[in-house]
Symmetry: C2
Subunit: 258 residues, 2 copies
């Protein structure tokens, strides 16, 4: 059975974005094409639960309850803690930006981002913690897809929309499947200016104790620096991911040789 109200709550939460963090009853109602009074009820109930908070003018913002819950989530996501540590080392040692990402549905969600110099900040700012991206263009996306359970992959692939961001973006399913197979065989994946001109990434999978791949880490590097040293960066990120996996209790039965 489908709980329509919860579905509505989902759409309401969708409204609150980086671009638009605050909504009034009428705006929200019009935006979702619901009666004002219905929207008022929903917003008020969500505020009662702490999921939203009310400004002094009676408008609504996201509430601290969400922060609280997200902390519970992170606390129990062991790979976060280990990965953060390893990422710190990577950034300190190599001076390049690293990302930690998970797959949620068909989308990649960035969980952590550590960057070295403020110089590259501008270029990369579109990809930021808490943002979602379609998985097909990103290095982390490919890795995460590649290691999904075989049976669930087809349905995910079907739902993916292969939007083109640059001339290099993968746009056909055949090409994507080919890349995923490569990624799985090799144990890493690339993004060669497929999302942003001039930016490349290498990503490697993080294995948990059950051999699943809940997350992936990546280096994100300007193309001119990346292409001459592809293999070098690949090796670093793969080794880092392996070391995280081992800390999580993964015993390297199938670790891929470089």
């Amino acid at each position: 059975m489908k709980q329509h109200l919860i579905e509505k709550v989902g759409s309401v939460l969708n409204l609150f974005s980086f671009q638009r963090p605050e909504w009034g009853v009428r705006e929200a109602a019009e935006s979702l094409d619901l009666p004002k009074s219905t929207m008022g009820d929903i917003l008020l109930s969500l505020a009662d639960q702490g999921v939203l908070s009310r400004t002094s003018t009676g408008r609504y913002r996201l509430g601290w309850r969400l922060f609280e819950l997200s902390q519970v989530l992170l606390e129990h996501t062991e790979f976060c803690i280990e990965a953060r540590r390893a990422m710190h080392e990577l950034v300190e040692r190599w001076g390049e930006t690293t990302h930690l990402a998970v797959l949620d549905g068909t989308q990649v969600l960035f969980v952590e981002k550590l960057q070295a110099t403020p110089a590259t900040t501008i270029i990369l700012s579109r990809i930021s913690v808490g943002s979602r991206f379609s998985a097909h263009g990103l290095a982390v996306g490919k890795v995460l897809l590649a290691y999904q359970a075989r049976f669930s992959l087809p349905t995910v692939l079907e739902k993916l929309e292969l939007t083109a961001y640059t001339l290099n973006t993968i746009t056909t399913r055949e090409q994507l499947i080919q890349e995923l197979e490569d990624a799985r065989r090799q144990g890493y994946a690339y993004d060669r200016e497929e999302v942003t001109q001039g930016i490349c990434c290498v990503a490697a999978p993080i294995f948990d104790i059950d051999g699943r791949v809940p997350a992936a880490i990546s280096f994100c590097i300007p193309a001119y620096r990346f292409f001459p040293q592809e293999d070098h960066y690949t090796e670093i990120i793969v080794r880092a991911a392996q070391s995280i996996s081992e800390k999580l209790g993964y015993r390297a039965k199938g670790l891929h040789a470089l």
Copy 2:
């Protein structure tokens, strides 16, 4: 009008805690005294919205959607960014643990915690980011309460349960009101071993551009180090809070002298 279903959703979310991050349908149903099928519907709908995620065994955990939303929340909470910067400086310079906290209802929620040496970690671990505490014992709690809008304070005070954590905990309303008045007059508040034996805190309010107090920062210091240098620590934290407030655009019309 009261949306009972949303209220239920709230209780369901309540279930997922640091201690118990994963729930099956039956357990959750029994725990909230609802029919199994009802609980199944709710959990499934929440998972559809990404608020929960399903494990491979059909049990439920919190979902990444919550993380995503919390990032939107943090991104638009200007004081977080400024406060974090200032807190870094404080920890580096003085080597003491600092907290950033907000008031949500009658409770204090810790938003950020920076600590210097791993040595003190153990003692303070109970107070951790994303946790809630009743406001009456904590230094940050007193500050936040003290600067609440005058009209909303009485209702908050009424709902507060003055549980005693140590022998020093404030347990009477008169005493609390007195301390809040002091805090408002002075511009800071103390916790003298009122939550944990051997731990003291000083907190100061962060003002936003409208002169409201959305958050407070504090030093959290072992008693033996705190008592000899109370005034010193007070001055540091008040100054830090002032500097954050100014960065947020607060013009110091009513800044309290030290």
